[in-house]
Structure formats: structure tokens, C-alpha cells
Amino acid sequence: MSRIRTTGSAIALLLALVVLAFAFTGCGSGSKPAPTGGTYKIGAVLSTSNQSAPLGQPEQNALLLLEKQINAKGGINGNKVKFIIEDDASDPASATVAINKLITQDKVLAVIGSSSTGATLAMVPTAEKDKVTLVCCAAGTKITDPVNPYIFRTPPTDSMALTKVLEYLKNNLKVTKVAVLHDANAFGTGGADELVAKAPSYGITVVSRQQYNSTDTDMTAQLTKIQQANPQALVVWGTNPGPSSIAKNMQTLGMKIPYIGSHGIANQSFISLAGPAANGVVFPGGRLLIPSTIPAGSPWATAVADFSKAYQAEYNAPINSFAAHGYDAGNIILDAIKTAGADPAAIRDQVEKTKDFAGVDGVYTYTTKDHNGLTTNDLIMIKIDNGKWVEAK
């Protein structure tokens, strides 16, 4: 009996501590000293540590770069610009604490963030209650659906990416039967639900729907099950490393059907993880990933070229989608402040009036009915060809 009790209590303790570990990871963050007068303070809550750090870190880099660029040009309306950046440690509860701190303590004019859908949704009630504009860098469809007067976003939504995938399946691959294999997390499940719901209107049947866990090693069991349903293409909805294991497993099994990924694999990490198995994989992504697909000479093309050059000079790294989300969010708020000044209510109205604003991710137009700004035209389908990205035709 003593063994039962010890092992039982050990497990209870283990679970309790796992929960605690998640709850307490990095609540604190370096709060900056309160700036003096003549400074526009804009808050940002980003996931610069833990699992969403690959998103939050480039977003933070982009904002710091933007702050430097604007202040070097003399700021806005004669005022300096200061981004006060808080880390939510990829944790929704910490995100709520952070936005409260920014609004009540730092008295920021508007807030950017967060990087992931979960953390962003956690901040929505606070932004709404305190009537502060929140421009997020997260792609979850439900953040802006239904439209909340105070919540805007810069990235293309998961829905737009999914629509792009369906258009590609119908118009380019001309298939009618697909299978979906998705991560069991919110991103993967949400994408798969939407795919299943929207597919019929594109004349596509989802013949098999399977899932995997983010940390799974081997997806061959799911793939063999999918093979039996004879789909003409496989849609994989998840973020690294799962999709790279799937690409490798498909190669091992000799599966030849087209592999369509999500925008979650629009990064070099997927190519280095999957190696040669990445070749032929197609996924939706922003046009900035292949700048030659942006109309030459357009303000958008200029924005991408300028940002790319400055980012490379500052961080010695190429730009990515996340840096673009952060940079665009900062620029949209600053553009509104130019007209609205230091008045949070006027800033909100001004952000909503943003029209044909050439950012890095695309050309933004917000309306009272649309707080997404971008459209599916800002996305392209990208194919991995010998470890390089090319536009999928």
C-alpha cells in the first residue's frame, strides 16, 4: 500500500508542479523607467520567451528597429516614440497582467500584441474595458470575428491562409478528394475544422481527418490510415517540428500525393528539419517571402525593400513574416498618432480609417466591418524546390 500511496502522491505532485511551472514561467519582465514628457509611449506585449518566442523575438526586433528609425528622423509631431515591450512568456495569464501594467502604470496610448492567438484573446477584455486600441500580431480567425471596435491585426488570418490553400487545391491541383492531418492543438484543430466546413463549397471532399500531438515522433500510423482513403492530396495543418516529421514519414512510406502545409511552416526551420523531404511541399505565405511577386515599383515593394535592408543592417538576418507583423503594427499605430496625437480614443478612430496603407505584409485597409486589413491577395502559394522557395503555379 505504501507504494500506491507514494506513487499516487508522486503523480499528483508531478501534475501540480507541471501546472505551477507553466503558470510561473517568467512573469516578471524588465519594466522600463517612465519616460518624460514629449514622448509617445506605445505598449507592446509579445511572446519573447517560451514556445512562441520564434514569433515574439522578431516582432520585438522590428519594433526596436522602428523606434530607432523614427526617432532618428526626429520622432512624430516633434515627440519621441517609445515602445514599452513586455514579455508574456507565451502565457495568456501573463499577457493579461502585462497589458494591465502597460495601461494603468505606463499609461500607453495604444498596445501591440500579442504574438499568439491565446495570449491575444486573453488581453481583449482589458483593451475593451479601458478603451485602448490593440493591434495584434496573431492570426487566429476569432480575434477579429466578430469585429471588436478596439481590436485590429496585421498578419493574414488563418482563414485567409486556408482559403488560399482551398483555391490552390481546386484551381491549380484540380483535386476533389483530400485528407487532412493536423496538430491536436488549437491552431491545428481550428484549421482542420474550418477546412472540413469550407471544402464542399470548393467541390472538395475531406476523405480522412487525422491528428497528431505536437511532440509526436512518428506519424506513419496516421499516414497509412490516410493512404487507405485514397486522397489526391494531403493538407497538413501544424507548426514545426510535426510537419517535418510528416514529410519524412511520407517519404519513408513512399507516398507521392502532394503535401500542402499551413503558413506555420513558412520558415527556413522547416527546410532544415525536413531536409530533402521538404522538396515539393507547398504552403501559403506572405508575398514578402518572395518579394519578386509584389508588383514592382509599388509602395508595398518599396516598403519591403526598405525594411529588409534596415533589418539586415541592424540584426544581420533576413526579414521574416513575424518581423513584418510587428513592424506593420507599429507603423499603423504611429500613422494614426500623426493625425490623432496623444488621444487614445482618436487613435482608435484613426486606425480604423487606415486605407491603402503599404506595409510589409501587404496593403492594409481597415473598415468598421473589417479589422483584418489584408486580403487573400496578399498571400501566395509557395513551393519548396531544392531547398528554395519559389511561387507555386
Binding site: T7, L14, A21, Q222, S245, T252, S269, L273, A277
Partner: protein, 326 residues
């Protein structure tokens, strides 16, 4: 005596169940069933390696090390550093990764476990949870939060593509064979160590009764140090060999550790054979459930089994019930 006959019944029932699952899978699904079973054996071998780490420490010191999954993670990370970044030969990188993690395990034991005046299971569990958080944070700081790629040991074509191995109509990546082979080798070595060598037998004795063992010259202190070092080495070896299949990332150890722990409890904590049985049963069942029923139930399975075992037979399939001390 009653315990003995009950164990026989449970063992027989488990054996019948496993054989039935295998037979039904093969008969109904043929080569696809074979694919599930072989994939399950590969995953099960990984669980076995992690489970053995739990077992070695438990059987020698009656402690549970909840940083076992993190040893695996660090092993995978070091393998990446040595073979992909530093471009050392595979076997050098492998040995270095295992050696460094063994040193890490030994230093941890000396620094945090050895000084305990009154080591009991709960204290040690809490210390190891702290250690696991520290290892995850350190790994994220050193290697970042993106998964790191690893190079397959063998079986790559000139283009860099893996050449699958065909077994009874099922396809496996060549790395899978390395994983199963390494697990088999580790099982044999650990079994010989604990059952055939004086040191190994002494270590088991020390766990049973540390005062009596020290009277006959087996020091608990040495036992504990060796057990932690061995468990760290096994964990690192697992991490180094699974890299090409499952990319290492700072938080990969948590789930691996939990699954390995479930396997160890299923087979019987402290028993090498138990770790093998628990790991393989869990791996195969997960794979068959994911393929034959729904992939959604797969992860619930490990924890369902864990709860069932704790309710029905807390000492596990092959573990020995602990005598109740009055």
C-alpha cells in the same frame, strides 16, 4: 503467495491481450498492420530507453528522477552541436554527447541529491522537477526555441534522401533500426550489469537496505552516484539517436519523460524487463490505436494505462510488490 498467483493471472491476461491485439491487427490489416506494429516498436524502444533511466535510479536508490526526459533532450541538443554544427564524426559526437550528459548527471547527484541528510522520495522528486525546469531554460538559452535538425546515421542516398528499409511490406527509416538496436543493446548491458556483476547486485542490495549493504561494503553514496550517471547516459543516448526522427527542442523532454514514466510504471518501476515490456506495449498500442481507431485517443492511452495500473496493480506488470513495513 496470493500476490504471486495474482501476478501470474495479470501477466497471462496482459500477454493474451497483447498477442490478441497483434494477431487481430495483422489478420485484418496485413502489411498496413505490420506498419503500425513496427512503427510502434520503434516508438516503444524510445519509451523503453527513457523508462530504463527511471528504473535504474529507482531500483538503486528508491528515488524518481523527473528530469529524465530532459537528459534525453540535452543528449539530442549536444548531438546536434557536435555533428551538425561542429561537423565531428557521428560516433565521436555520440560519445561526447553521452559523456557530457553523464558528467551532468553525476555533478547533479553530488551537488543536489548526495548532500540530502534525509533523502525521501518527495524531496528528491521536487529537486528533480526544479532541475528539469533549469535544464529546459538553459537549453532554450543555449540552443534557442526552434527545433534543431540532426543527421541520420546511415541509409542516405547521394541526394540526401533517406532510403527506406522494407520489412514484411512495411517501410521504416534506417534511423529506426538504429533506435531499436541501441535500445536492445542498452537493455542487455543494463540487465547484465544488475544481475551478473558484483557492483550491480550490490547496488540493488543497497536500495533494499542501505545499512545492511554498507556493512558488507556496498556504499549507498557510490550506488547513488553510479545510478544517476548511468541513467543520464542512457537518456542522452536515446536523445542522440532519435534526433533524425524527432528534432530536439528545449521542451521535447517533458512529454518523452511522461511517456517513459508511464511505460516504467506499466512494466514495473525498477525492473529492466518491465521497462522493455512497458515501453513496447505502450508504443505498439499507441500506434495501433492511432492507425486503427482515432489518432485523437492516442495520447490519452498512455495516461489511461497509467491510471489503470496504479489502481489494479501499482507495482506494475513485472515489478515486485513492496513488503509493507510495520
Amino acid at each position: 503467495m496470493q500476490g504471486d498467483s495474482r501476478q501470474k493471472v495479470i501477466l497471462a491476461a496482459t500477454a493474451v491481450f497483447v498477442v490478441a491485439v497483434l494477431a487481430v491487427t495483422l489478420i485484418l490489416k496485413g502489411s498496413i498492420g505490420m506498419q503500425w506494429i513496427l512503427s510502434g516498436i520503434v516508438v516503444g524502444s524510445i519509451y523503453t530507453l527513457v523508462a530504463m533511466g527511471f528504473s535504474i535510479i529507482y531500483s538503486s536508490t528508491r528515488a524518481i528522477n523527473l528530469a529524465q526526459g530532459e537528459f534525453t533532450m540535452v543528449g539530442g541538443m549536444l548531438m546536434y552541436t557536435f555533428t551538425v554544427q561542429a561537423k565531428l564524426p557521428l560516433w565521436v559526437g555520440f560519445l561526447l554527447a553521452v559523456l557530457i550528459v553523464m558528467i551532468l548527471g553525476a555533478v547533479f547527484e553530488r551537488a543536489a541529491i548526495h548532500p540530502l541528510k534525509n533523502p525521501n522520495m518527495i524531496t528528491i522528486i521536487i529537486i528533480t522537477i526544479g532541475f528539469s525546469i533549469a535544464l529546459r531554460a538553459a537549453a532554450k538559452w543555449i540552443w534557442g526555441s526552434n527545433p534543431v535538425p540532426a543527421r541520420a546515421f546511415t541509409g542516405l542516398a547521394k541526394s540526401g534522401k533517406e532510403i527506406p528499409v522494407k520489412i514484411f511490406g512495411a517501410s521504416l527509416s534506417p534511423q529506426s533500426l538504429w533506435i531499436v538496436g541501441l535500445a536492445a543493446l542498452a537493455v542487455i548491458l543494463v540487465f547484465i550489469f544488475f544481475n551478473k556483476t558484483m557492483l550491480g547486485k550490490g547496488m540493488r542490495a543497497a536500495a533494499e537496505n542501505r545499512d545492511a549493504a554498507s556493512l558488507v561494503g556496498v556504499s549507498y553514496s557510490t550506488t547513488s552516484l553510479i545510478a544517476w550517471t548511468m541513467a543520464a547516459g542512457l537518456g542522452a543516448a536515446a536523445g542522440a539517436v532519435i534526433g533524425p526522427i524527432q528534432a530536439a527542442v528545449f521542451d521535447v523532454g517533458t512529454m518523452l519523460g511522461l511517456k517513459g514514466f508511464a511505460a516504467a510504471i506499466l512494466g514495473g518501476l525498477g525492473s529492466t524487463q518491465g521497462a522493455v515490456a512497458g515501453g513496447l506495449i505502450l508504443g505498439i498500442l499507441e500506434s495501433v490505436v492511432a492507425g486503427g481507431f482515432s489518432s485523437g485517443y492516442k495520447d490519452a492511452l498512455a495516461f489511461l494505462i497509467l491510471i489503470l495500473v496504479l489502481l489494479i496493480r501499482p507495482e506494475g506488470l513485472l515489478g515486485k510488490p513492496e513488503a509493507v513495513k510495520v
